[in-house]
Amino acid sequence: MEGKIIVVTSGKGGVGKTTATSSIGAALALEGNRVAIVDMDIGLRNLDVVMGLENRIVFNIVDVVQDRCKVEQAAIRDRRIENLFLIPASQSDNKDVLTTAGVERVARQLRSKFDFIIMDSPAGIERGFENSVVAADEALVVCTPDVSAVRDADRVIGLLYAKSLNPKLIVNRIEPARVVRGEMLSHEDVLEVLSIDLVGLVPMDEKVLISSNTGTPLVLQNDSKAGMAFRQIARRLNGEEELPIEMPVYKTSMWHKISKTFGLKQ
């Protein structure tokens, strides 16, 4: 058994990388895979709180890379989702403590123990980013429909291409109503600008904040639109590549339909 390492990255911070990582990881585990989520944001760990596992940390990824413990000792098992594990980041170290050689060595161990290893890259394109992508087999780029996130995504996509990775895009926090009003880039706009393959569209969803407040997996909430979108993405990564990508739709009101008929709205 040889697992697959997927890095989740974005360049810009605050676009939903951590939410995407934890949700896709959880969803892949729900599909029956053995999954390890690795928080590579050394010094600024967050996946543990988002996943509600912050009270159970003993060892972290720096301990594993520096051979102070085994992979099994650092991997925290999620009690709600079977076969889901988190290897947290270290909170006290500087992000330069890890080397690409060290990460590659641990990556080999991880591949032999898990079906999927999801690496949550820190924001930026420095050392932490390098460490997160060095062992990756696949890359996901998360971006929101705003100019700064798209521009940073473009830069990161270029860097990933240079490493012979062929990244796929997740457009996060889409607000269809605002797209219709001409206030927000549509996913088509983003794709046209970035010219890269799409793996999923995630609508803006208030449930994301609520689930992180309580540390419960978003993908277990059937009424969460974002959670459902992440589950679809996980299925695509799990081999169902042909699964159609759902477009977030704006439920049109009666008034909207009337004005559309008269050519007042596009």
Partner: protein
Amino acid sequence: MLSGLFKRFTTRKNSRDDAKKRLQFSLIYDKLEVNDTTLTDLQQDIVDVISKYFEIDTDSLELKVKRDDNVSALVFNTPILHVKRKKA
């Protein structure tokens, strides 16, 4: 509702289109940005090639990336001192 209706008739500027145009433009320009090491390396390579055929004044040469609205060009300027004789 009436004011909303009125707005539809007046030509309203669409910020979504603005965003897209500005992005497309800035991404092209981002890619044209060449860093200093690349320029220095390039300059050395050009000098090496030209020196095979001409003796040039290496102190007064310049290499620049020129950008206009539509085109970008690489400009290499060097005084030629002598034409070297090709060895048989």
